[in-house]
Every structure is written in C-alpha cells, then in structure tokens.
Symmetry: C2
Subunit: 254 residues, 2 copies
C-alpha cells in the first residue's frame, strides 16, 4: 500500500555536505536517507526536505516526506529508520500524511537559530553547535537593525547564490535576539542567540543576516544602514557570512 | 616566582586514553596538559589530577594542580592555556593555592554521574556523553540496591584492576538515582542518571557499580545480593561494566 510519510528529523550536520544530494556522494542528509530507505524497502525512494540546509548546519526539527509502498505503520517505520541511520541522524516523529503533502511546498514557516558563544572560556560540551566569538555586542543596536529585515523584502543582498535567477523576495515574520546564560559546573558559557522565523530563506541567508547583525553589534555598521543594504540588492553591500556550525534549523510549521 | 596553580577543567574524553600519561603517547589529558604547559612556560611541568579518569570518560569539574615559575597571574595563565589546549579541553577556573596543596592528596570527595538514555529514539545531540540503553528499569529496586554501597566498604568486587595491591576500602557518602526528562524539539530523550559521591573510587568502580545496578533494574539481580557481592571481594561476583562514554566526573571538593 502506497503511503506518504512525513518525518521529523534531528541531525548533527558536522560531517555532512548539507541536506541536498549531490551526484554520487552519499555524504548529504538527503543522500543518507534515500540510500537507507531504498535499501530498507527495496524500492526507489525520493525524500523531499522542507528546505536545504547548508553543509555543516544542524537540525532539531527538520521535516521531510517520502512515498513508500509498505504495510508498516509510521511508528515501525521510524523504529526501522533509526536502526539503520548513522548516529548523527535520528527520526523523532513519523506520521502518515495526505498523498498531496510535500514537505517543501507545504511548509508555511521555518525557524532557524544561530548560537554565538560569548563567554570568557570557549565551550567544550556542545562546541560543535556554537560559534565561539567572544566580543562585546551592542544588543540594542542589533535589535534595531534586525527590525529592518522583518516583513516582506527582496533579500538579494543576503543571498549566497550569485546565479540565483528566481525571486529573492521572502517574508521574515520574527527575529529575536537574546542573551542566554549557560552554566555548566564552574564554567559560564553565555550565548547570544539569534532566531529567525520566515516563510523561506535563500541560500546562506540566515548566516549573512547574522554576520551583518554581528557587525552592527560590534559597532562596525549602524542599524539604519540595513535599509540601504536591502535596497542595494547586491551581496557586496551586506556583511560577512558566519560559519555554518553555529546554525540549527529548529522548527518547520505546516 | 614559583606558584602552585589549581585549575578546574572540563573535557570531552571521547578521543583520549584517559587522564593518566602513558609512556610517550600524548593522547591522554595529563599528557596534553603537561606537553602544552612545558612548552608554554619553557620548563618541565608536572600536572597532578584529583584522580585518573578512564579512557573515554568526560569531566565537567576535574581539578588539577601544577607548580610553575612565572610572573603571570591565574587569570592570564587560564587564558593562555585555553589558547593552546585542543578544542575538547578547557580550563574554567584557575587560582593560586598553598605550596603544599596537591589536587589528588587534598581531595575530600568526588562526584561522578553516569547517564543512561532510555527514550524511544536515541539522542543525536550529546550522544557522546550518554549510554543509550532503552530498557525498563525498576528504579525502586535500584535505589534499594544502591543503599548497600553507601558507607565505608571494601570494594574489591568492584575494582577493575586485578593486580590492585593497596586497600580497596572506600567510603561512598551518597548515591542518587533519578529519571531526568530531556526534551529537544519534538524529541523526548529521557535519561536515568546515577550520581556517586565518595572519598575516592577504584579503577572502573563507578562503571561496575552502575552495571550491577542496571542488572538490578532489569530484574536480573535482587537488591539483597549486593551484600554478598561486597563480601565476596571478587570481581566475578559483581555485574558487568557499562561503557566509558556515559560517565562524567562532575565535581571535586577540597
């Protein structure tokens, strides 16, 4: 019986070249999933993610859907997947969805969080998920700057793909910036966490937005400049791109 | 000026052969520290830990002391150490201590925590620090069994070193066993955490105690048997040894 399955995935993206399958290499999340599912169910299976994550980016709530001809229920499918997936990928939820459901096309919003370690000592535990960059940040200036990005805008200046031919208009519904205390034993590992919620994000967009906001936080740019950066529609106008490993896809809403 | 420095360390023990320096290999925590400090201060430096941790065991609050001839203060020494230590070791505190202070000889008590993952899905984040063993555990039976170990006992049955010639008498002041909820996104990763506090622990002792308590929890042994195991003074009488990676040295008290 043909079923359309939607799974929620968590992965440590450290050793992967991102979500999207590339040629013959299996070192992508999509590649790992399709290879494993196709073997497991002895049929060609195509997996659609809610969106691509860059190489090195992690996920706590990535969603993906695939069609499979099987009599197993979603609980059993999840159990089987977890048995055969590598240790850095896990399925935490699985359900049967309508045959027309597609994890990317039906996604209403996504939330990404970027973590910056700002303490005196660099973290050892969880270091793979935090960019350690202990500077002084002007949080209020960063919040002011972030406000320019909320709403519907052409984010060409924040797109890492220079050959992007489609529309770069996206809507960001919320950006939250907060200082999170993080104590472990005698160690203090405070973080600056930037969370972005929107209907979709361009390639590298969250990392370029974060880099630009970091420049504001360090006083290298003024919040008002954000307007000009958006209007420039030019990648050169925006700030630098922060490293991938600080970024995690937190949630996809359908 | 000769100073005696006590540092608090955190490390991810995954890739190390434990604390203690062995021959020429530098792949031990002590070896890494001594190699780095000796280079940094251009003098032979010996580092004394509060105790040895087994290969693969982690620390959130390991303490170590060393003597160094320097004009730098402890804050600066800590900063320099963190600059040159590998990413999986960090100093979170450093202070000058009395010349007679010795991290092992002066340690009054240590606390170790063993983490067992018991959820339906195995954890991806933090998987390096949790032994995933999703069984049904009779917590009350485990607590009853643990009570036999509290106090001063000869722990020969729980010593992994068959050639141990010194006394195996140690005092355990507290064993706590608790279920800890651990939610991450849509994933539930509950853990069973066993914490042991005592004046000292023999080689592998916490891991053999935990393995024995796990056997009780799974109904393979009765709590009352613990008395006989202690009295046997024979490693064969006790249970199996759980894997190293679930164990973390949490705290040393002086």
């Amino acid at each position: 019986m043909m079923k359309n399955i939607c799974v929620t995935l968590q992965y440590d993206g450290s050793r992967y070249n991102g979500w999207q399958k590339q040629g013959n290499t299996e070192e992508t999340i999509q590649g790992k999933l399709e290879g494993m599912l196709s073997k497991l169910f002895e049929q060609e299976i195509e997996v659609n993610g809610s969106g691509r994550t860059d190489g090195g980016v992690h996920a706590i709530g990535q969603c993906a859907s695939f069609k499979v001809n099987t009599n197993y229920g979603p609980g059993k499918i999840m159990e089987m997947m977890n048995q055969y997936l590598p240790k850095d990928i896990v399925v935490v939820d699985a359900k049967i969805v309508d045959a027309r459901f597609h994890a990317r096309l039906n996604a209403k919003s996504k939330t990404y969080t970027y973590r910056i370690g700002t303490g005196f000592s660099r973290p050892v535990f969880g270091r793979q998920f935090v960019w350690y960059h202990p500077e002084e940040y002007d949080i209020e200036a960063m919040k002011k700057a972030a406000a320019y990005f909320v709403g519907e805008h052409d984010f060409t200046s924040f797109c890492g793909n220079k050959h992007m031919k489609k529309s770069c208009v996206r809507t960001i519904t919320d950006i939250s910036i907060q200082v999170v205390e993080n104590k472990l034993g005698d160690g203090d590992f405070p973080e600056l966490q930037l969370s972005f919620t929107g209907n979709g994000f361009l390639q590298n967009m969250v990392r370029i937005l974060t880099g630009t906001l970091v420049e504001v936080g360090q006083g290298h740019r003024k919040p008002e400049e954000m307007q000009q950066i958006l209007e420039a529609k030019d990648r050169e106008a925006a700030g630098f791109m922060v490293p991938a490993h600080g970024l995690t896809l937190m949630k996809v809403v359908y």
